[in-house]
Structures are given as structure tokens and as C-alpha cells.
């Protein structure tokens, strides 16, 4: 297969499919087993320094933020992160020193809120390295190639651009159409965290609303930790099996973490906490502010429940539910002039 062009980005989290199959054979259980555990235990057990990590969800939507805070609390080091529309998650992981290398589709920004001061600073100062560039579809399809147990998947994006040149993709001539086509290498992250609406104790998961990339990412993951708003009885899963979007045999740990996506949005349950986001965006303009934020909200609390008390407790959580359900107006201090 003649390669017409080759991206010079670092090839990350790729494995020869046979090598990955052997890993799956030896490391993943096909048994229905009770996989419930605490968040502290799950993060301690499955996240190793130097791992390539990816988060389910998108930006600040249905991201397992509780796991992010726990990784920071456990002071994980030298992580490489999939910047697959990474927003608040990557920003605080970089700010806290856990992540020092990134593959970027979208990172260092906070979508409508503007750019992310802390992580931009880290990249511009050279303390964080961008190892490869890619597009959003490119990331989605890297995970899809992995989900299918393939070495690569073709695509018609990224062609002709520097995004390609700084990626780990290759261009070949398609033997069917005779035209150049881009091949995206599979991406099998070492650890993936996905936050879901509900699952049973074995890890059979349901998600309401958009799936984003998680249908594929769950299969691409070597280790998969599911955090869930609630654990439900197995029979509820089995009465509507077409609602299962992640089957138990992919899942290594099930952790019940209500409000686990805060300060992000959990569709149908709670909207993002834009007051908290504004506080972070303001504080993170300086290294001192970053330190203050982390001391207060992460190192200074024992666990995610204590954090939830700190950000405003039941009252705040009720308000975010009302915003989500369009019953209260959104307060977004960052939008004020």
C-alpha cells in the first residue's frame, strides 16, 4: 500500500490489532460480575502515570468530572490526554500538572466562554506539549477504527492541511476510486471514563440524549470506568435491552456518582454551572489563582460530595436542575460585560 503522504504527529495509543486482541483476551472479563467500587479505588486502580486517557462526553457535556477531580487529588502524573473537544476537564488537568502531553482536536478553549487561560499558558510556556493535531471527526473515527478492532479507518477529512501534517494519519491512493484518501490510525486509550445516566452493577449502561463518541470510545478503551448518576436493577436493563449502549463486558468499574458531571451539563438532569465556570476562568488567569482554586475545591476536600457542598450544595444543584428544565434563567457571569 503506497503511502503518498505521512503525518509527522506522534502515533499515540495505537496497537497492532493482534497485540490488542491478546490484551483483550487476557485482561477483559466476559463474566457478569458485580463491578461496583468507590471512585478513589477506581482511579487508583486503573489510572497509571504516563497513561493515554480519554473522557466520554464532549466539552463540558456528560464528562465524568468527578473522575477528573479525583485524578488531580491523587496527583497523577505525566498523563497524555485526548483533546477530543476537551474543555474544563483538560484545562484543570493541565493546570494541576497531571497532564503534560496532548493530542489536540479541540483543547485550551471553553467554547462560547472564550479561551482557557491556564492551559494556553502551559502550552505557550512549553510545559505542555502538543504531540499531534487532529480534527473532531478524526478523533471520533480513530476511536471507531479501534472499536472495530482495525488498524485504521479511511476518511475524506484532514486532506491538504497542516492538521494532517501534524497528525499521525497517512494518505494513500484508494484502489477503488483511484483518489487520495486519508487513513486514520486506530486509537486505543489506556483508560477511559464515561459518565452515564444509569447502569446496573455489571456495567450495562443507558444514556439519554446524544451519544457523542461514546458508543465507539467504550469499545476502543482498554480500561473503562463508568461513573453513573444511579445504579439500577438489572431487570430494568433487560426489559429494554435496545437502550443498552455500553454492554457489561467492556466495563472494568462501576462507580455511582450523582452529579458526577458538575460543573458540566448532564442532559435532562442538570445544566452546567456557569457561575463556577466563571470563577475558574477568572482565577485561572494567574498561577496563584489556579493554586487557590485547586486548594479550595480539590485538595481541600476529601471527595466529590464535599466538593458538591462547597460549590453550593443542594440549593445550587436544585437551581441547575431548574435551568436544565428551562424553569430558571441561566446566570453566566463570564458573559457580563
Amino acid at each position: 500500500m503506497d503511502v503518498l503522504e505521512e503525518g509527522k504527529g506522534e502515533l499515540l495509543a495505537w496497537h497492532d490489532p493482534d497485540e490488542h486482541r491478546n490484551w483483550i483476551l487476557e485482561n477483559k472479563s466476559r463474566s457478569l460480575e458485580d463491578k461496583r467500587m468507590g471512585l478513589k479505588e477506581a482511579v487508583d486502580k486503573f489510572v497509571q502515570d504516563d497513561n493515554y486517557i480519554a473522557m466520554g462526553g464532549f466539552g463540558h457535556i456528560r464528562v465524568s468530572m468527578a473522575s477528573i477531580y479525583e485524578m488531580i487529588r491523587q496527583r497523577k502524573q505525566n498523563l497524555i490526554m485526548a483533546g477530543k473537544t476537551a474543555v474544563h476537564d483538560i484545562d484543570i488537568l493541565i493546570a494541576s500538572g497531571c497532564v503534560n502531553r496532548v493530542e489536540v482536536a479541540y483543547s485550551f478553549g471553553h467554547e462560547l466562554r472564550g479561551l482557557s487561560p491556564a492551559s494556553r499558558r502551559a502550552v505557550e510556556e512549553g510545559t505542555v506539549k502538543v504531540l499531534a493535531e487532529i480534527s473532531n471527526a478524526g478523533f471520533q473515527w480513530r476511536f471507531k477504527a479501534a472499536a472495530m478492532g482495525l488498524p485504521f479507518i479511511p476518511t475524506r477529512v484532514m486532506l491538504g492541511t497542516d492538521t494532517f501534517k501534524y497528525s499521525s494519519a497517512k494518505v494513500v491512493k484508494d484502489p477503488f476510486s483511484g483518489k487520495p484518501i486519508c487513513l486514520l490510525p486506530a486509537c486505543y486509550p489506556d483508560v477511559v471514563f464515561i459518565h452515564v445516566h444509569r447502569c446496573d452493577k455489571f456495567g450495562n449502561c443507558q444514556i439519554d440524549g446524544i451519544m457523542i463518541e461514546d458508543f465507539e470510545l467504550a469499545r476502543a478503551a482498554r480500561r473503562l470506568v463508568v461513573t453513573t448518576e444511579e445504579i439500577i436493577d438489572e431487570e430494568r436493563i433487560r426489559n429494554a435491552p435496545w437502550r443498552t449502549v455500553i454492554p457489561f463486558y467492556l466495563v472494568d468499574a462501576v462507580v455511582e456518582v450523582p452529579y458526577g458531571s458538575h460543573p458540566g451539563n448532564m442532559p435532562y438532569l442538570y445544566y452546567s454551572d456557569e457561575e463556577h465556570m466563571a470563577e475558574w476562568l477568572k482565577l485561572s488567569r494567574s498561577p496563584e489563582g489556579v493554586k487557590q482554586y485547586l486548594e479550595n475545591y480539590v485538595y481541600g476536600v476529601k471527595n466529590f460530595e464535599e466538593y458538591l457542598e462547597l460549590i453550593g450544595g443542594v440549593k445550587k444543584l436544585n437551581y441547575l436542575k431548574q435551568v436544565e428544565q428551562l424553569r430558571a434563567p441561566l446566570k453566566a457571569p463570564w458573559a457580563e460585560r
Binding site: G59, I61, L115, T163, C182
Partner: protein
């Protein structure tokens, strides 16, 4: 009888972009102004415009301005709440008519940079990267770019080519394997509306906004912009459009308040 209608630049850009969209077509939208322009089109001349979000929302009834292209507002009462794979796949299949992009830099062929200012490895300013821009700009039939216009942004050569415009000119997209017949269609800035010359694929001025001179446009463009003999003046926002923008689409002024 004519009353002077007051509006800011963002409102003008939203209205101008909105008018580009045709009814019965589909649009792949990004955060901020694109959503606003698309929602305005739906509420005015294009009620049957299909709005699609890259994270999975298809045809929602957007109840308030989403903060992210994936947040719950992007699939509120949608026809379908699906995946990024699904959306990108149907874009690759040819189902997406318009794509909206923002840009930090653009060149005469509509090539876009949203990745880095300066060199990639030692950036002067690190920007978020492609996001879905490269995908939209590769796969949608017509892309519309919304951005500010000045000589730092309208440049001879972009520091990093994040998203393909016409690359090096006619035929270049097809030559590298991008879908045939696609490419940048309009660029809407605070000064005017640009298109692309059919033959040379170079950027061409189509209209200037009310009160803007050709001289201002030239002075804020860092490359040789084609300025045809006939340049029209952009239609200003109507009172009706402004009312919809201010009371229905962005009542909190999260985007249009910032101009």
C-alpha cells in the same frame, strides 16, 4: 416614514449570515454566531432549515442559546439525538449543505487557521485547534466563515492551515482527495461580505456593510482581494430581525451583547 434602526456589528453579521442560508437546506453549525444566524433564518425566511450539530443533535427546537455544540439545548425536542460519527458520516455522504466556521486567520483562498499563531512547536498564541472545523470545511457543500477583518487576520499566508479552503487554487481540493465541488462560499466580517471567484477561487468582495468604504476593506485585508466593479451595500438588519435576535434568540446577550 423611515426610522433609523440601531444595531451593533455582531447583529449585522448575524443577519447577513442568516440571509445566506436557503430554506429546505441543511446547516452544520458551530457555537455562538452560527447558531444565532441559523436560528434567525429559521424564524424568518427559512422555516424548514435543518440545523445539525456535530455532537449529535439533529433538527432541535433550540429553546435558548447553547453554550456548547453538544449541550442539552442542541437536541432539545430534536428529530434525532445521535452521535458525532453519525453526523460526520452523513456530512461525508453529502447531506450537509452549509457549514459555518470561525477563524483566527484566513488567506485569499479561504484557508483557515484556528490552531496556532507563530510556529506550531513554539507558539506565540495557542488556539483550540480544528475542533469540527476541518471536518465541516472538508465535507459540507458550502462553507460560510464568520470572523473579524483586519490585516492580522486576513493574511497572505496562514501560520497553520487548520481547515482547507481552496488550498492553492482551482482543482487543488479535488487533487488532494477532498470531496469534489465543495469549498468556502462566503466570508462575513464586520466590514462586508466576500465570496470566491468561480475561476481563480480567490476571495472577492461582494458587498460592504452600510457606511463602510472600499478603502476600509482594502486597508484591513493583508492580501490582494478581488474588488469587482459592482459592489453592493449589505442590507442592514430589520427591526423585526433585531427583535427576534434580542428577545428570542439571545435575550441574555451572551453573543450579540458582545460587539
Amino acid at each position: 416614514m423611515e426610522k433609523k434602526v440601531e444595531y451593533n456589528t455582531t447583529e449585522l453579521m448575524a443577519c447577513a449570515a442568516s440571509k445566506i442560508l436557503e430554506d429546505g437546506k441543511s446547516v452544520f453549525v458551530g457555537t455562538g454566531l452560527p447558531i444565532i444566524a441559523s436560528a434567525l433564518a429559521q424564524k424568518t425566511h427559512a422555516p424548514n432549515l435543518l440545523i445539525v450539530f456535530e455532537a449529535g443533535g439533529v433538527g432541535p427546537r433550540i429553546p435558548m442559546l447553547p453554550i456548547s455544540v453538544g449541550d442539552s439545548r442542541t437536541f432539545y425536542k430534536a428529530a434525532m439525538a445521535t452521535s458525532m460519527d453519525y453526523i460526520m458520516s452523513t456530512a461525508q455522504l453529502g447531506y450537509m449543505d452549509y457549514g459555518f466556521l470561525g477563524a483566527a486567520q484566513i488567506d485569499m483562498y479561504g484557508n483557515i487557521n484556528t490552531t496556532v499563531i507563530g510556529s506550531h512547536d513554539r507558539p506565540k498564541a495557542r488556539l483550540p485547534g480544528s475542533g469540527g472545523a476541518n471536518d465541516g470545511g472538508s465535507l459540507c457543500w458550502k462553507t460560510i466563515i464568520l470572523m473579524g477583518q483586519d490585516t492580522r487576520r486576513f493574511v497572505e499566508k496562514v501560520d497553520f492551515l487548520t481547515t482547507p479552503g481552496y488550498l492553492t487554487g482551482p482543482g487543488a481540493r479535488e487533487k488532494v482527495g477532498l470531496p469534489a465541488g465543495t469549498g468556502p462560499y462566503r466570508v462575513v466580517t464586520q466590514l462586508g461580505i466576500m465570496g470566491f471567484d468561480d475561476k481563480s477561487k480567490r476571495m472577492k468582495l461582494l458587498s460592504v456593510h452600510p457606511g463602510v468604504t472600499l478603502e476600509q476593506v482594502r486597508a484591513n485585508t493583508g492580501f490582494d482581494l478581488i474588488i469587482p466593479e459592482k459592489v453592493t451595500v449589505t442590507k442592514p438588519p430589520t427591526e423585526k430581525e433585531l427583535k427576534i435576535l434580542r428577545t428570542e434568540i439571545d435575550p441574555a446577550g451572551m453573543v450579540i451583547g458582545k460587539s
